[in-house]
């Protein structure tokens, strides 16, 4: 691990300005990260296949550039070479979740979209000093114990987890060769105000909120005693922010430090929106329910990560935003 690192490495008397490239900058995490970096002493280059909001556009006009680009298209990337090449840091958020049980039909696509796009990107970024890669707790797959620490075996049970682990491995090999800092953040499920990207809109929290706002009972399928770890968006952004400020070369879990059962989650959402509505249990409680909880002591130690939004508070904020 490199000592300190800090936000502004300097050579001689000149302060070298950091240039941070953020892929997937228009997604839920990306756009909030860009806003958080508004006053950060660095040039910010945003890259996304979708266009930025007016608010983001203003920040990019002020702090750097926005590039509209498909990462799978190397030629398109090369056209923006002059803008991309000077980047010293990469925050790689762009990613795709293919939602299908038909493994064979989506395997190639998922790997292409997640790994091959990353390989393309690295081809035009020769000046990187740090890569911050947003991975996922899905790399662990079925849990052997809980809370899950970083030395838990990886045994992904879906293609998303597989492609994240594969991309982690490739980035590790590349970073070792190039002696650059690879900071891998394995995120738990993230929730919070704003539009969820792609298939993540089907997740429990946005789904429950939508149903309860419509005046219906949220249905709970599967094992309602199963526990999950939900991290509020702002805390997730803080983790990336801390990683940029204090570069390291390692894998860290980023979770909330707490887990709730699916039933507690649904009940809490009902209570906030309309206490008359109660969740409807469709599944059954099995013995030894799984507890998908991440152990976050390494992140605490390494970057001082300390999530501070409790699930009730976070849900209130997300619901307030939905109702407005």
């Amino acid at each position: 691990m490199r000592e300190g690192g800090g936000a502004s490495p300097s050579i001689g008397f000149y302060k070298m300005k950091e240039i941070i490239l953020i892929t997937g900058c228009c997604g839920q995490i990306g756009s909030n990260l860009v806003k958080k970096l508004k006053n950060y002493d660095a040039e910010i280059i945003g890259l996304d296949i979708s266009p930025p909001s007016e608010e983001l556009k203003k920040i990019f006009d002020d702090k750097g550039k926005f590039i509209s680009c498909n990462l799978l298209d190397l030629n398109e990337l090369k056209k923006n070479r002059n803008l991309l090449e000077p980047a010293t840091k990469l925050v790689h958020l762009a990613s795709v979740v293919e939602d299908s049980n038909d493994v064979l039909s989506v395997a190639e696509k998922t790997i292409r979209l997640n790994l091959f796009s990353t390989i393309n990107l690295l081809k035009i970024l020769p000046n990187l000093k740090q890569i911050c890669f947003s991975s996922s707790m899905m790399v662990y797959g079925s849990t052997k114990y809980s809370p899950i620490d970083e030395s838990h075996i990886t045994n992904p049970i879906n293609l998303y987890g597989l492609s994240k682990k594969l991309t982690e491995d490739f980035l590790k090999i590349y970073s070792k060769e190039k002696s650059l800092d690879l900071s891998i953040l394995r995120f738990t499920s993230i929730y919070g105000p704003g539009k969820y990207s792609g298939n993540s809109a089907k997740r429990a929290i946005p789904n429950f909120i939508r149903v309860v706002i419509e005046g219906k009972s949220p249905n709970i399928f599967g094992n309602y005693k199963e526990k999950r770890d939900y991290l509020f968006l702002d805390d997730a952004i803080e983790a990336i922010y801390l990683t940029l400020k204090k570069p390291f070369s390692d894998i860290i879990n980023i979770g909330s430090g707490e887990s709730v059962t699916i039933l507690e989650l649904a009940s809490t959402i009902c209570k906030i929106i309309n206490p008359a509505i109660k969740p409807k249990i469709e599944g059954e409680a099995k013995s030894n329910p799984l507890n998908y909880l991440l152990n976050i002591s390494k992140a605490k130690e390494l970057i001082g990560f300390d999530p501070n939004v409790k699930i009730v508070e976070g849900l209130k904020l997300e619901i307030k935003n939905e109702i407005q």
Partner: protein, 299 residues
């Protein structure tokens, strides 16, 4: 054999060609790219490139009743050049597997010979069992691990039995090693011809070696197994020790030179824990196996 039709991909390779010989049953279908070599193996075969969906399609009827797959075919050329070779490695090892599975609708069993390199590189005394975190340090190893994961997900969805064998460093008799160029074979050949042996580095780097015939036994054994198993001797041996044993077997003195190496070769040590009671126990001792290998260079 409880399976109707066993498809062996990579049948003409080092492990494949030995396996085909040892299985010696009627219901094999060998798959490879080289027609000449396939014909030499004798069994029914299909000449096919797994990267090419059209070639697979042409043979769709042959694959229909395959109920057991031994998937040896792989691009094994390790490289650290992620940007140059990364995508190709994934295409050759993962996408080809996806292609193949699309044409095997009636599978009941998959045996996947993987590699101990999925664990990464270790300091000499670390014990690596199947519960150890996989941390591949080359793109071949990474692609093997991802293929394992893919097969696990697929097999679980489809209710197919899957056995993954993580094989350590293989060495083999002359006839099987011709296209491989392994150090042990070069040493054996040089000793038999009284030539100087060149060792790269100080020769103290250790590996866990497993004899080809034990690998074949392990594959046969895995017909009734599911899960992940290390297939290794459980002992690590240095290159210098190997040379010493070969010299003893040959009862010869040969000159040894050490060539400097830019890189310090890592030590590899893979211990299949017997905690997994059903773990595979190799039949050949290192001495016996090296004796067999050496004898193939005397003729």
């Amino acid at each position: 054999m409880k399976y109707n039709k066993i498809l062996i991909t990579g049948a003409t390779g080092e492990i494949g060609s030995c396996l085909v010989k040892e299985l010696s049953c009627e219901n094999l279908l060998n798959l490879g790219r080289n027609k000449e070599r396939l014909e030499k193996l004798g069994n029914k075969y299909v000449q096919c490139d797994l990267n090419d969906l059209n070639q697979l399609k042409t043979n769709i009827k042959l694959f229909e009743d395959v109920d057991c797959l031994i998937h040896l075919a792989a691009n094994v050329k390790e490289s650290k050049n992620v940007l140059e070779n990364g995508a190709e490695m994934i295409e050759n090892n993962i996408f080809s597997t996806v292609n193949l599975l699309k044409f095997l609708p009636n599978l009941k069993k998959i045996i996947f010979p993987s590699s101990c390199s999925v664990y990464g590189i270790f300091s000499s005394n670390e014990k690596v069992d199947e519960k150890h975190v996989a941390n591949p340090e080359g793109i071949y190893a990474a692609s093997k691990l991802a293929t394992e994961n893919l097969l696990s997900i697929y097999a679980k969805n489809k209710g197919i039995e899957l056995c993954i064998l993580r094989i350590s460093s293989v060495f083999s008799p002359k006839e099987y090693s011709l296209n491989v160029g392994r150090a042990i074979n070069i040493f054996a050949e040089n000793i038999s011809q009284n030539k100087t042996i060149k060792i790269i580095g100080d020769g103290e780097n250790k590996r866990d070696f497993i004899y080809l015939k034990d690998v074949v036994l392990a594959i046969k054994w895995s017909f009734d197994k599911t899960g992940i198993y290390n297939i290794s001797s459980g002992k690590s041996v240095s290159v210098n020790e190997i040379v010493k044993i070969l010299k003893n077997i040959a009862n010869k003195e040969v000159e040894i030179t050490h060539e400097s190496s830019l890189f310090k070769e890592p030590n590899y040590k893979y211990i299949s824990t017997r905690a997994k009671k059903s773990g595979f126990i190799p039949k050949y001792s290192l001495n016996e196996a090296l004796r067999e290998v050496y004898s193939t260079y005397l003729s």
